[in-house]
């Protein structure tokens, strides 16, 4: 098995497993892209659909992995990519089946009827914003610097033609062809750092039922996710450095050992996956019992609302039913929302508000930089 076939096969079981576990790391009030009141998280239809989704995606993952392994010797490089695409399409189909079934029961039983649907924010978030962990960016930048230095030292001694990619294809030596990998490192680092900086300016996902607790959990979640992303970035840069070293003929690996450069990247992905599972989307898997702060004490009063404090007991609040803004349960389109990025509906992470022209500008910029 060569590096190229291994690189092609590994994503199939990886994304299969990821699809399988995603419902577990998603917000309990968001089941397959459907917003539900907190007390409905254990509804029979949800338990049934989650179970069905798990087994369906597990079977899909196993089947396509077997297919990828059996077929890796046949066809060309695109066969494995088609297999991966088919697997993802099948997983998306499973998601849509679960979404449709849950939404049908939710709407027919009127789960949100009579509930007070609110959107909450904490202005202290802006007064005391979380700090971007700049120091965690240093490893990624150090690796880029190391790549540049090694490249500069090796450049005079390189042959007239250099290999490109995994296929053994060769191109004439020039600064652009020799240092293409550094450009790749810079692109990945700038892209992810830029996106995380936008995320830091985006709104935190605050639960109406527990504003203070969810704000604290979101802070921890943002911190953990950013550090995991920056660690992944550093390891991606190491992977690129290792492949650059091969290209610059510092070392040569053959057979299964040629997969070595991929190892840091895989480790980075695993670290991110472990962090995602530990914290959950928006910090929903973090401990619900945290240090009682002044904010919480204050919010417990405000949370009761004007009618609550008038002696009738707090009126239960729930997050707003915002399904109509999420196309296919995954794509956020809300013209009234000035946000560029918002918390993802399924899985851990963020997504764009596709009704915001700024989001399209950013996407266009990312694609333009990739093609340049």
């Amino acid at each position: 098995m060569t590096l190229s076939s291994l690189a092609a096969i590994v994503p199939v079981p990886f994304f299969g497993a990821l699809s399988c576990i995603t419902p577990a790391i998603t917000r309990p009030t968001l089941q397959f892209g459907v917003r539900i009141p907190g007390d409905r998280a254990g509804a029979p239809v949800i338990r049934r659909e989650r179970r069905a989704y798990f087994w369906r995606t597990a079977a899909i993952g196993v089947c396509w992995t077997v297919a990828a392994v059996l077929l890796h010797g046949y066809g060309s490089w695109w066969l494995a990519r088609i297999i991966l695409l088919l697997e993802l399409a099948a997983d998306l189909g499973c998601f849509q089946i679960a979404r449709k079934n849950i939404a049908a029961v939710k709407n027919s039983e009127g789960w949100f009827a009579g509930l007070r649907q609110t959107v909450a924010t904490d202005t202290n978030w802006r007064a005391d914003p979380p700090r971007f962990p700049v120091r965690w960016l240093l490893p990624a930048l150090t690796v880029i610097a190391a790549t540049v230095i090694v490249g500069a030292v090796r450049y005079p001694g390189l042959p007239a033609r250099l290999p490109v990619g995994f296929g053994g294809h060769q191109v004439p030596k020039s600064i652009v062809t020799a240092f293409g990998i550094v450009a790749g490192q810079l692109y990945v680092t700038a892209l992810w750092t830029g996106l995380m900086l936008i995320v830091y300016r985006s709104r935190p996902d605050i639960e109406s039922a527990d504003p203070a607790g969810s704000t604290r959990r979101y802070r921890e979640y943002l911190n953990a996710c950013t550090k995991a992303v920056l660690t992944l970035l550093a390891l991606v840069n190491v992977t690129l450095l290792l492949s650059a070293l091969q290209k610059w003929q510092v070392y040569k690996l053959s057979g299964i050992a040629s997969a070595l450069p991929l190892l840091p990247f895989v480790v980075g992905l695993l670290i991110f996956a472990v962090v995602a599972v530990r914290v959950g989307q928006g910090g929903t898997r973090l401990s619900r019992v945290g240090p009682v702060n002044i904010l919480q004490a204050r919010l417990s009063r405000v949370g009761a609302g004007p009618s609550g404090r008038a002696g009738q007991g707090p009126q239960p609040r729930t997050d707003r039913d915002d399904d109509r803004f999420w196309k296919a349960g995954l794509i956020y389109v809300n013209r009234d929302d000035p946000a560029i990025m918002v918390g993802a509906r399924f899985g851990v992470g963020w997504t764009f508000n596709f009704a915001n022209p700024a989001a399209w500008l950013i996407i266009a910029g990312i694609i333009w930089a990739l093609s340049a």
Binding site: Q117, A120, T123, R126, G311, N334
Partner: protein, 134 residues
Amino acid sequence: MLLSIEPDGPVPIYQQIRDRIVEAIAEGDQPAGSGLPSTRQLAVDLGVNFHTVNKSYDLLRQEGLLRISRKSGAVVQRDPGSGPPDPSWAREWADRLRTLLAEAAAHGMPEQDIIRQCQAAVAHFAFPAGEGAA
């Protein structure tokens, strides 16, 4: 300050934002001199149109509760410790209060209940020491 609104509720969003800020000022969460987020930031945080927040801030500015400047942004101008309000404002407020209380009486709420509700609401306000509801 926690700000919670019902985007699909019967009260217009700009009015809800204005009401929550007034309550926060009365409860001492936003004392005079404290800043509020920029209209753009609050709009992003609540997921509402920028003009909606602008309308709320403008309303509060007209009511004399907020000062808005290009340099320092939106700053709370008055709070329970700022001294007695303008007499004409107090008269107009008393009229509105009378209508609100009349609604309760018209719906048959007993006098004691109305008074209790008023006391319960006032109990949460941050009056300066020695000026409490008692």
